[in-house]
């Protein structure tokens, strides 16, 4: 068993060289060993890039600044070779499209075995046995026979399971999951999330789950952070954030969901997310916020603690009660 470490992200900033725009701006959070942490945001929020920055898998033209430590290691400063050994063995990642990881010309059993062999140095036979075990553990029946099949012979949900098997084959202590269930059907999504949850508890792994869907994160994560236009706008224990959200954007997101409807209309957030090149010095959400005042966009706003462990980047929290009223989710989450 590898030592369990905590992940610390400190003022992570990701900038695209060509435009000079920062799409991740000063993001800081911590994931304790064995904790499940959720990152919620829509497209353009920077959540995926945050995830990729941790593993130094940024697209060409993007560079990361700040500090990311996993235990004693400072990830942004490691040499390429060291980072390479870390990936897969200590920190693993799964993606929305399992075909990013699954080589279409490799049989799935071989693909998983390869991961095991390169990180654990086991022989071919032992690796294959472990691969079949992993496949069974992720819920693929008749694994010994199906290990000889190719990715295209499986459905989307099964491919995602195989993807997970590959990611967890070398027993990483931290798993980064970037929208792992977005492309899946409702029932399959629930099954995959259950699987991730079970495996996480079983292996004592930390989990960073990135999603645009608050509900997905709500079901799996102990703590959650909401991102908007590259910044964290709210951070806290899942239960508290759901019961008492402390940021207008969070409330807006929750209101957008049909089950939040108590009246006749969905309360949609008006407008569209901002262009990363035209952000105001202050709160990026101000232009779409019903509580915004001039002070909101004038100067940068820092995260402030509203309750133990609960942070918000909003200066209008005293006015949030009106927005929270009628939030059906807040009522039902009061368990």
């Amino acid at each position: 068993m590898r030592p369990k470490d905590a992940l610390r992200v400190e003022t992570l900033t990701v900038t695209f060289r060509s435009s000079g725009h920062a799409v991740v701006r000063g993001v800081s959070f911590e994931i304790a060993a064995g904790e499940a942490f959720g990152l919620v945001g829509e497209s353009g929020s920077g959540k995926s890039l945050t995830c990729r920055a941790i593993l130094r898998l940024l697209p060409r033209g993007a560079s990361a600044a700040g500090r990311v430590t996993y235990g004693a290691r400072s990830l942004l400063e490691l040499g390429d070779a060291e980072m390479q050994t870390l990936r897969g063995s200590t920190i693993a990642m799964i993606f929305q499209d399992p075909m990013t990881a699954l080589n279409p010309v490799l049989r799935v059993g071989d693909a998983i075995a390869q991961v095991i062999r390169s990180h654990e140095g086991l022989g071919a036979r032992a690796a294959r046995t472990r691969a079949i075990e992993m496949m069974e553990r992720v819920g693929i029946r008749d694994a010994a026979r199906r290990a000889a099949a190719y990715p295209h012979e499986f459905s989307g949900g099964m491919r995602q399971r195989i993807h997970i098997a590959m990611a967890l084959a070398a027993r990483p202590t931290l798993l980064l999951a970037d929208e792992p269930t977005t492309a899946l059907d409702v029932i399959v999504q629930a099954e995959i999330l259950r699987l991730l949850d079970d495996l996480r508890r079983e292996q004592g792994m930390s989990l960073l789950l990135v999603s645009h869907d608050f509900r997905v994160v709500a079901g799996v994560c102990d703590r959650v952070a909401v991102m908007y236009a590259g910044e964290l706008v709210e951070l806290g224990p899942t239960r508290t954030v759901l019961q008492r959200p402390e940021h207008p954007y969070t409330i807006g997101l929750m209101n957008s969901l049909p089950e939040a409807v108590t009246g006749e209309r969905l309360r949609a957030i008006p407008g569209v997310p901002p262009d990363p090149g035209r952000l105001p010095p202050g709160c990026a959400f101000a232009s779409r916020c019903e509580l915004a005042v001039d002070a909101c966009s004038a100067a940068p706003i820092a995260l402030s603690q509203t309750a133990p462990g609960h942070w918000s980047r909003c200066i209008r929290i005293d006015r949030l009660d009106d927005m929270r009223r009628g939030l059906a989710a807040a009522d039902s989450a009061c368990v």
Binding site: M158, S256, P258
Partner: protein
């Protein structure tokens, strides 16, 4: 009755190539039809939702309803005209009356045409508006979907996903359809944008008196737009929930599984979700109820007989041997 679809069936056959056929072998594998005996009726101004996951046949159903594909058997009757029997020419002219908004706003618009050109083309081809009034009508349409007038000269690549979907809706409305089929119109969009588009569709439905068929995998989203819901699985309509009935009183085991597995804004919703743990790569059984491989209540009749839809009261219909036997024993 504005639109009636009767017993639509469509099978995508897996052709084995011409050599086996020449050798006298059977050309088509025995496969489960993508759509089997699906029927639907829609009054003028009414909306109905279709819920199903991938492989349920909902997209095939939508395409057959819009006559984008010819069903193998069955009819689609619009306002008394049997569309399935029409020849190519008359069919093309009737297409305008049933319009579709597709799932992917990024590929649904011709990247080389400006928004204005796209909308004008609809008006010109169907001669809906006098030449001198075209510009004004285009502006009206843009306004109806919440886009600024200067969008006319812009290309689709200048717009976000949500905005592009609005353009697609405007294009569909330009044809002045009687029926609007929305096939997963918000699935590819961010959550906050989904709400905007859903509100737009609901408003348009009321303002224009459109009859709408709304397809999605999300039961709650469908309920918001179209109170009457048809649930599909394995190419069949397995349950019909009328407007008055709450979702929780769904009786078909699949619908119940769908409801139980829905993600919610509550921590701990995962408990009790995704119970099925079925081997999802197994294809649907060739005979009997398509759901029997994953159904906790499957018993003898399920293996042989495809259950017909039965009304169990107040317009609530279920196609399930277990349910209909149980309710009959009251």
């Amino acid at each position: 009755m504005l639109l009636i679809a009767e017993h639509l069936t469509k099978t995508y056959a897996h052709r084995r190539g011409w050599v086996p056929a020449a050798a006298g072998r059977r050309v088509h594998d025995a496969v489960r039809p993508a759509l089997a005996d699906a029927s639907l009726s829609l009054e003028r101004g009414e909306s109905i939702g279709i819920v199903g996951e991938s492989g349920s046949g909902k997209s095939t159903f939508a395409r057959c309803l819009a006559l984008l594909e010819r069903p193998d058997s069955g009819r689609v009757v619009l306002d008394g005209t049997d569309l399935t029997g029409l020849g190519t020419g008359p069919l093309r002219r009737s297409r305008r009356r049933i319009q579709v908004v597709f799932q992917d706003p990024y590929s649904s618009l011709n990247p080389r045409l400006t928004v204005g050109s796209t909308l004008r083309e609809v008006l010109l081809v169907h001669r809906l508006v006098a030449r001198d009034r075209i510009a004004r009508r285009v502006e009206e349409l843009l306004d109806q979907v919440g886009l600024p007038a200067r969008a006319v000269d812009r290309y689709p690549s200048d717009f976000s996903g949500g905005q592009r979907q609005r353009i697609c809706i405007a294009r569909a409305l330009a044809a002045e359809p009687e029926v609007l089929i929305a096939d997963e119109p918000v699935s590819a969009l961010d959550v906050s944008i989904q709400a905007q588009i859903l509100n737009l569709l609901a408003d348009l439905r009321t303002q224009l008196g459109l009859s709408m068929i709304f397809i999605s995998h999300d039961l709650h989203v469908v309920r918001y737009i179209a109170p009457r819901i048809a649930v599909m699985f394995g190419g069949r309509i397995v349950e019909i929930l009328p407007p008055g009935i709450p979702l929780e009183s769904a009786r078909h085991p699949y619908t119940q599984a769908l409801l139980a597995s829905r993600s919610r804004l509550e921590p701990g919703w995962l408990v009790g979700a995704g119970e099925l743990n079925a081997d999802l790569s197994a294809s649907l059984p060739a005979t009997g109820c398509p759901f029997r491989g994953r159904c906790p209540h499957a018993f003898e009749p399920c293996h042989e007989i495809d259950p017909p839809a039965r009304d169990i009261g107040q317009g609530h219909a279920v196609a399930c041997h277990y349910v209909t036997t149980a309710s009959r024993s009251y």
